[in-house]
Structures are given as C-alpha cells and as structure tokens.
C-alpha cells in the first residue's frame, strides 16, 4: 500500500494491467490447490476458489482504499476500478494463504500434493507476493542505480545463502525434509539454485509489469533484478515453509 502502488493503478499501461490481473488467476488457482482456504478437491474448485479470493481481495481493497481516502466517489469509474483492481491481486493472494497462516494446520494430503513442480510453483508464488510489494517503489531504482558489479555479486551470494539456509538448515515448522537420495550438491542445485532462478524471473516479470524496464539498459535491469531478487528469494523460501 505505497503511493507508487495506487498511482500505478491509475496511470499504468492498459495492456500490462490487464495481463497482470488476468495472470493473477492461475496463481490464485494454484495457491488454492496447494494451500487453499477450503477443502479443494478438484481443479474446478481451485478455479472457483481463485475467483472467490479475487472477489474477497477486491472488496477488502475497496473498503480500505475508501477509508484511507485513496479513492473518492467523484473520481472517474475507470480510475476507481484500476486502483482497486491492482490492489485486489495481493489482497487475493493474502486471502488464499490466510487460512494456512492463521491456523497453522498440518494437512497431510496437501503436503503430498506438493510435488517438485508444485514446490517450484509455491516458491514462485511466495517470491511474487513479496516482490510485488516492493517492486513499485522508487527505492528499487535508486538502490540499483548506485550499486557496482561488486555489490551485485555480494548480494547474489547473500540471496542464495539465505535461501539455502532458510529452507534446509534452520528448524522452522513445516521445514522440508532433505530427501535421502539427495546430497548437499543435489539439494543445492535442485532447490536453492532453482529457487533463486525463480526469484530472479519473478523479479523481472514484476519489474516489467510496473514499467521499470522501459528504457532501462540491460546492465541496470540486471542490477534491479538482483536487488528485487533478494526479498523475492526470501519470499520463495518462506512460502515453502508456510505450505
């Protein structure tokens, strides 16, 4: 809920906004499938849950934006819808994940459901949720603009280390068991590096959505992705612990 967020809602390019909101539905459906707020037995129910979650996100965003005077009734309808719509996406993700976070319930079925592909998806969703809240801010561009190559390399190393340690070494609840067949090297390749790759890709996608990529050179873009990849990696790691 930053100034950039609600202003972006109003001023953002139409194509990006439509792709962004439409693209949220597969993510919401996937999340409902792996950690949804009710018993999700069939893929059709997961889609239903995604739609409900967007609705919940939309209504709560509308109420909060109205109470905070971020939308007013004398605004153009399109502007109001845009402002609420962009905010409804993270709110919807929150709605899907809330039950799991708040009850902390262990769901054996769901755990089994999370295959390797599923785990990668969850990492992407976690990265998206965090990246999305930081990406619109001016600070991302400011930080990236003064960083040198040495800073970037250091930040990459720290991101990867954090991701690895968070998921495998620290004893959080819901921690992944390291599969017996996989040694340190395999684990590192399969999960940590894959996770960091996902964090970077998600960062780039989010930067594109928020028009941070327009007119930006490739080197600056890479630096921005690394900067945003740091919180995104945190999100990826934490998502796997929650679900």
């Amino acid at each position: 809920m930053t100034a950039e967020m609600w202003d972006l809602g109003a001023t953002m390019d139409r194509h990006r906004l439509v792709i962004f909101i439409a693209g949220a539905f597969p993510v919401l459906a996937g999340l409902a499938w792996y950690c949804g707020f009710e018993r999700t037995a069939t893929p059709r129910e997961a889609v239903e849950d995604a739609v409900v979650a967007f609705g919940v996100g939309f209504v709560t965003s509308a109420v909060i934006l109205l109470l905070l005077d971020r939308i007013a009734l004398d605004m153009r309808v399109g502007e109001i819808v845009r402002r609420i719509g962009i905010q409804a996406v993270p709110a919807g993700i929150g709605a899907v994940v809330a039950r799991r976070q708040l009850t902390g319930g262990e769901d054996v079925d769901r755990q089994e459901r999370a295959s390797y592909g599923g785990e990668l998806f969850l990492m992407a969703a976690g990265a998206l949720f965090i990246a999305f809240n930081v990406a619109p801010t001016e600070e991302m561009v400011l930080i990236a603009s003064t960083m040198t190559a040495r800073h970037s390399v250091g930040l990459i190393a720290l991101s990867v280390l954090m991701l690895h340690v968070l998921v495998y070494q620290v004893g959080f609840a819901g921690q992944e068991e390291r599969p017996d067949y996989a040694g340190f090297g395999m684990t590192f390749l399969h999960f940590t590096l894959a996770g960091y790759g996902i964090a970077l890709l998600v960062s780039l996608a989010v930067l594109w959505t928020f028009e941070r990529t327009v007119g930006t050179g490739i080197a600056d873009l890479a630096t921005m992705a690394v900067v945003l990849g740091f919180p995104a990696a945190l999100g990826a790691a934490v998502a796997r612990l929650i679900v």
């Binding site: 202003d7 109003a10 001023t11 139409r14 194509h15 906004l17 439509v18 909101i21 439409a22 539905f25 239903e48 739609v51 409900v52 979650a53 967007f54 609705g55 919940v56 939309f58 209504v59 004398d74 605004m75 153009r76 309808v77 399109g78 502007e79 819808v81 845009r82 609420i84 719509g85 409804a88």
Partner: protein, 135 residues
C-alpha cells in the same frame, strides 16, 4: 428433523454460499478487466490536455489564495505537472505563483491553490500549465 437431513441442509447452505461468493468474484473480476479494456479501446490516446479554472479567491493575512480546479481532458496521465498563475496588468506581469501536481490521471480532476501577495481582483489573472513528464 433428524440428524441426517440437518447435515444435508448445512451442506446445501454451504454450496449456495459458495456459488454466491464465486458469482460475486466472477462479476468483479470480469467487470474490472472489462472497464480497463473498454477505456483503452474507447480512448483515442491524446496527450494530457490540462484545463484550468480559478474557482474562488480568499483573502487572508499573508495575501490572497486562488483555488484552482485542474482537469485533464486528454487520454494519458501527466506526472509532475507544473501550474503557473500570473497577475498581469497592461502587458506586464506583476506577480507569478506556481504549484506542482505529482499525478493527474486522464479524464480526472484535482484541486490546488496559488498564493499571491497582490489582490487578483485588481489584475488580470492568467492560469497556465507549463509542463509535465510521462509517468
């Protein structure tokens, strides 16, 4: 009512509630995308066209305040829009004031104010937008 039918009722209520929640969600989702696309299709992509109107002049200890309504009649948003107010008399400018508006979305209105030391009623008040950047 026996226990089994009570459970069936409960199940039916839950289903109905789910259907209603899903329907509301679907309407909001399709409506949101619809409004955004409709606006894009119908707009002709004109640059920000700023219309200014002095609404009210208020006198206070430090001078005078002119409240200004700012409207963007174009189809694109303006960022860091600067607005100037000039008090002219006989072809020369006696006083200028300016304000900066951080965002002005398309087809939208905002309000602001310009302060003057002289009474705008004694002069010709000229309002103009002097520049913006693309958001």
């Amino acid at each position: 009512m026996n226990r089994r039918s009570a459970r069936r009722d409960e199940e039916q209520n839950r289903r109905r509630l789910e259907a209603v929640a899903a329907a509301i969600g679907a309407v909001l989702a399709i409506g949101t995308l619809g409004v955004i696309i409709y606006e894009g299709v119908t707009s002709s992509d004109r640059p920000p066209l700023v219309e200014l109107q002095a609404e009210r002049v208020q006198a206070f200890e430090g001078g005078f305040l002119v409240e200004v309504a700012i409207r963007n009649a174009g189809d694109r948003a303006a960022a860091d829009l600067t607005i100037e107010g000039l008090l002219n008399r006989g072809g020369s400018t006696v006083e200028t004031s300016e304000m900066l508006l951080d965002y002005l979305p398309s087809s939208s209105s905002r309000r602001g104010g310009l302060y003057f030391r002289n009474d705008p009623a004694d002069y010709e008040l000229v309002l103009r937008a002097s520049g913006y950047r693309e958001p």
